[in-house]
Symmetry: C2
Subunit: 715 residues, 2 copies
């Protein structure tokens, strides 16, 4: 059903008929600008009706007093009147059976008060009539590929380079910034700017663009995801259609999320969770708006081929006529961990025959300025590089604009590009953009402007190829089928209950003993030949070691008895109000295990998330963690572990034995299973540390905190 909705939304991009509510003969007004865009600057062939209660005609077209008086029901309306007029008009549209409304009007809840009530009335129209609302508080829609502007923006007519990129933004200003990057030569075929997202949101346009022919790459710029499941479904649909998504998400710092909230009042979930979900779903996240363009443009030129984890990375080549620029570009490529592929013998022979002896004919190539004396050499040598069997992309840094000389180079390079499918990626590093720049732009080569930014885009392009080959196309995140959160409050179980619960759910844990008296504690110690750990047992205490609630390495009954006294004394001093149920006694884990943390949290938008990372005292310093939406299979768990910077410690670094990675991966999958089996009851799981022994020794949590709803029924 969602799928058919999305398909139907594509007709919003070019409806059969449209009525402009608030049409105006004042060319400076919103209504007047919209009319000019629609009638003068668009190639729209549908019926256009004008609605304005105070005019008989505008130009040679009749005006109608209201939508009720239109001779036919339009498929879409555009609303360019103030909120108090817009709301009843939209209610009428809903009754009449209008399918879409683009609402420019602001004043719907950003200011509170009356606006909130207006917004509620519009939501009712959507719910009752099925009319879809785009906006409010938005600049409209630019369907560049069909040259149709349902927008009041006077820039519409300036930014009309058709192309394969679909752009979706929440705000108008930043979206227009991306539109202006089409001056680099790659067009943006469709731009939706969703404003307040009262009904239609970024996710809906991802789905629609997934179904829109002519759009091959989707670029999104967002401050927050309003509806997690819709977003996930939309992204997965685009992936199935083979359309990569590049995203720039604002609101990753405190300043940014505060500013974003005051701007559009959108929910901004945890930035780290957002980024993890993007990575898991293959959404390519970038760090700046200019990187959105760089990366989308690169993907528009060529989609990366799926590249399995065990295959080498795509080979890059650097081609340049300046030694210093060659070195700096190769350096940036090396720092990004990308691969300059050695040339095949035949390529080397060709280059040696064409270039002077002092040129560098290994990759990176420095042709030296000798090629300027006979510029046909540029085309020949560039083609030789493009045709090298190992080369997937050629990077062409151009440090300077030397006018005609540079234009000649550009002409030769563009000529080479027409003879090879291997993308030549120019980096136009100069502040000046003269004739040479124009030649590359007009050849569709979309010059980048900064070496480091270009290399970031290349890194993302290469990584996306890896993702394409390694993701599970059948992945169905828990957020798509999660039940409602129970009404009862969530509370933490004691460690003892938590471990019992994990055991009952099938996890292998060493024996532990909950004791409620000093004597019972000492008795347990007598039956154990090895050292014990003692931990305070209290549902009121989550961070036991912070309050002196933990003693380790206790050998014998006497030591355990002393620990009983000390723990009680420390905890009573640190948290006088905590109810102490006793101690939990456990055998000490063997020395030398690696300690990680495994956690489950629930993102308000994106559902249950798993975290694994280096535990203990290092987690807050190095933040070396991997995150996933559930479910996490054993295979996915393995991939999570390989993402960690500390993975070499698991695999066996210098002097360290390899750890029981397989047991750890099983544990992750088990935790995932437990959460899924319990539906929405589990609010949080914190296994920290999880002890990971050598291969064959297993992996299990030394400490466990579970926060759950309806705890009584599960413990």
């Amino acid at each position: 059903m969602i799928e058919s909705q999305a398909s139907s939304l594509t007709s919003l991009f070019n409806p059969r008929s449209v009525a402009l509510i608030g049409a105006s003969d004042n060319p400076a007004s919103i209504g007047g600008r919209t009319l000019a865009n629609l009638l003068d600057h668009s190639a729209y062939r549908g019926e256009v009706y004008l609605v304005n209660a105070r005019r008989e005609r505008i130009g040679d077209r009749p005006c109608y007093r209201s939508v009720d008086e239109l001779p036919a029901v339009p498929e879409m309306v555009i609303v360019a009147v103030p909120a108090d007029t817009a709301v009843p008009a939209l209610e009428a549209c809903g009754r009449l059976g209008v399918r879409y409304a683009i609402v420019f009007t602001s004043g719907f809840g950003e200011g509170g008060g009356e606006g909130q009530e207006y917004a509620e009335r519009l939501r009712r129209v959507v719910a009752d009539t099925g009319m879809r609302i785009y906006g409010p508080n938005c600049p409209g829609l630019c369907n560049v590929n069909e040259r149709i502007g349902f927008t009041f923006s006077p820039s519409f007519r300036h930014d009309l380079r058709a192309g394969p990129i679909g752009l979706i933004t929440q705000g108008g200003g930043l979206g227009r910034n991306v539109m202006q990057t089409m001056d680099r030569g790659v067009g943006i075929g469709l731009w939706a700017s969703t404003g307040n997202e009262l009904d239609l949101q970024v996710a809906d346009f991802i789905e629609a663009m997934a179904d829109t022919s002519g759009i091959e790459v989707i670029a999104i710029l967002l401050e927050g995801i309003n509806d997690g499941p819709r977003f996930v479904r939309a992204v997965q649909r685009a992936t199935r259609r083979g359309k990569p998504i590049v995203a720039f998400k604002v609101g990753r710092s405190e300043y940014g999320s505060k500013a974003a909230q005051s701007h559009t009042a959108s929910i901004t979930g945890s930035a780290e969770v957002n980024s993890a979900v993007f990575r898991q779903l293959g959404v390519i996240e970038v760090d700046d708006i200019d990187e959105l363009a760089d990366t989308a443009w690169l993907l528009a030129r060529a989609h990366p081929a799926p590249n399995p984890p065990d295959a080498p990375e795509p080979g890059l080549a650097v081609y340049c006529s300046s030694g210093g620029t060659t070195a700096m570009t190769a350096d940036a490529i090396g720092l990004a961990g990308l691969t300059l592929v050695p040339f095949a013998e035949s390529t080397t022979v060709t280059l040696r025959g064409l270039l002077p002896s002092y040129a560098s004919i290994v990759n990176p190539i420095d042709t030296t300025t000798a090629v300027l004396a006979d510029d046909s050499l540029i085309e020949k040598t560039m083609l030789a590089v493009c045709r090298d069997p190992g080369v997937a992309m050629v990077i062409l840094p151009m440090a300077l604009d030397y006018g005609e000389v540079t234009a000649t180079i550009a002409r030769r390079v563009a000529a080479a590009q027409t003879q090879s499918p291997v993308p030549i990626v120019p980096i136009w590093m100069s502040e000046r953009t003269g004739e040479g720049y124009g030649i590359l732009r007009d050849a569709g080569m979309a010059p980048m402007r900064s070496v480091s930014k270009a290399v970031k885009a290349l890194r993302r392009w290469v990584d996306h190829g890896r993702w394409l080959a390694s993701h599970d196309p059948e992945f169905h995140p828990a957020v798509l089928h999660a039940g409602d959160t129970p009404q009862s409050p969530a509370r933490a179980m004691t460690e003892s209950k938590a471990k019992t619960w994990l055991r009952e759910a099938g996890m292998a844990l060493p024996q532990s003993h909950a004791v409620s008296s000093r004597d019972a504690a000492m008795a347990v110690a007598q039956t154990h030949g090895i050292a014990l750990a003692a931990k305070v047992l209290s549902a009121d205490i989550q961070h036991k070691s912070d309050v002196g609630g933990v003693r380790l390495g206790l050998a014998g009954a006497e030591a355990v008895g002393r620990a009983w006294d000390e723990i009680h004394a420390s905890v009573r001093q640190a948290m006088p109000q905590a109810r102490i149920e006793g101690l939990l006694l456990e055998p000490m884990a063997p020395v030398g295990g690696l300690e990680l943390l495994v956690g489950i949290s629930r993102d308000p938008v994106l559902g249950p998330m798993m975290t694994v990372g280096l535990g203990g005292i290092y987690v807050e310093i190095f933040r070396d963690v991997a995150r996933r939406m559930l479910p996490v299979s054993v295979d996915e768990a393995e991939r999570m572990l390989r993402e960690l910077r500390c993975y070499p410690l698991l695999a066996g670094a210098r002097g360290q034995p390899p750890r029981d990675e397989a047991a750890l991966a099983r544990l992750l999958a088990q935790v995932s299973d437990i959460v899924l089996a319990q539906g929405a009851r589990v609010a949080e799981i914190d296994l920290n540390p999880v002890w990971v022994g050598r291969v064959g020794e297993g992996a299990y949590p030394l400490d466990a905190v579970i926060v759950a709803h309806d705890v009584a029924s599960v413990s």
Copy 2:
């Protein structure tokens, strides 16, 4: 002496007279282009002599057959003839007493063979006559502030915006790229491009520009430092003159350093050492050539004030008329850890009076487009922000070029700038650079082009203020007075010898016992009440745990005896050729100490360097280390420790006790003292791990490797 040399070098920028060897009437030739630059495009007022054996005159000037026939000895010569002619000509110049030679000619050693011999002859001229050689293999010198071009570059006449930036590069192409960024509106007053650095090198021009009036910021672009002491001296001189240095160093990855070597054959030391030395000396390192311009331009607009470690960071403000752009810029500022300062009450009152109720008048400011209706509001509100007592800089992101509207904003902003010394930093984010861009450029506001790059520049500007307040102006690095490396080969001492040596030099270490028999080992164990560590004693083995040469936690004689057997067996299997001298027995360090590493290495260019960082298995994964040139004082050691990401573990992170930071800082200073006392004898010290106890418990190495020359005499 060095200081006076540098001062004298400034006259190379504008010598009293110059002879062009290889003057030509062919305007396309090197000699012809140089002549045109000198006579037609320069405002050079000195005497110009032309040397060309095959011409009587060029234009209305006489030609001389050789330098020997010139009517007077020129202060400088420019050499634009092939190497075989250039070398004897330069020898003649040296004999005549010419002070400077700029040598464009290539073929001096890049290709080997004859070129090496030519280079050697030129070095002899320098040594014998004191003539200074600039180049060879360089494009010459551009003294833009005095409009003098000693260069063959046809671009000279296009890049003539005078200004406060001095640029020094090794390669010509990348240097010209930086010159072209003067289109952003800040001029580069002087550009030296040092080529092969046969004699004069980057350091010499840093010294010279330190002494050149009109130059306020020095930007350098280099592939390698050829002479460490010269570089250090030059940088310190610029610092004393109050001129910040911004550096982009190529060759930080394997690809880059290989390409740089094949390009100019310069020595590229360890990139990490280079970066550490830059940081220590206050050289602001950037990661891309466009960041060199961004950062230099920002410093040219305003030098940061020295900002003591305990003072708050300079307050930034964001001013924008688009909500989304405001949010994204604030976000980038937050992610960089920079400070948006809350406005004073008076500022807020002013803004509230000027802006509509729906604008955001807290920092970051979103004026909304309301200001466009009355653009005088832009000037008034911008000035209110500039005059806020907490604001040190105002960031003005401009997402779009809306033509006349944007030009109006730019005009108002430029007008505000003339009324306030607080820099307004525009970020021109659009691909289009229309009238508005030109207004900001012409107002000297040097628009940046990317939000993330602008924020990086701001971060560096703020950090430099911190450095200015915290560095030791009397710092005199060991590299400036290091003796020659001894001829004898360096070799590793045994751990026992190394520790004895550290103790003799004054370091407090726990008692350790070198034993050469199983019985002696067991006897030591009997006298110790606490657990021991046993380590193989062999000068042939550096990584003892890798060969099974370490056993820990040995309680009692029997355990020590078993360890003797096991260690001998393991080591014999892993390294059959290693000579085992016995075991080193030491008391185990108390449980729960933090383990760091402390090391000394000797950089071939920059001398002895100290490293401190997280030790054990984490060092190679997180590379969390701080580095310094020696000497390291206790104060400097404290600063090193605070640079570490793991510093919270030392200071006492969650649940962790504070560590004996003072003892660790003393240990670092002691290691520094030892190395300095030994001169060049110490090749390498590796204390890993250094155990750091709680406050009062001290800090000492558990393992010690020292590699030294003349070991016998010190052990």
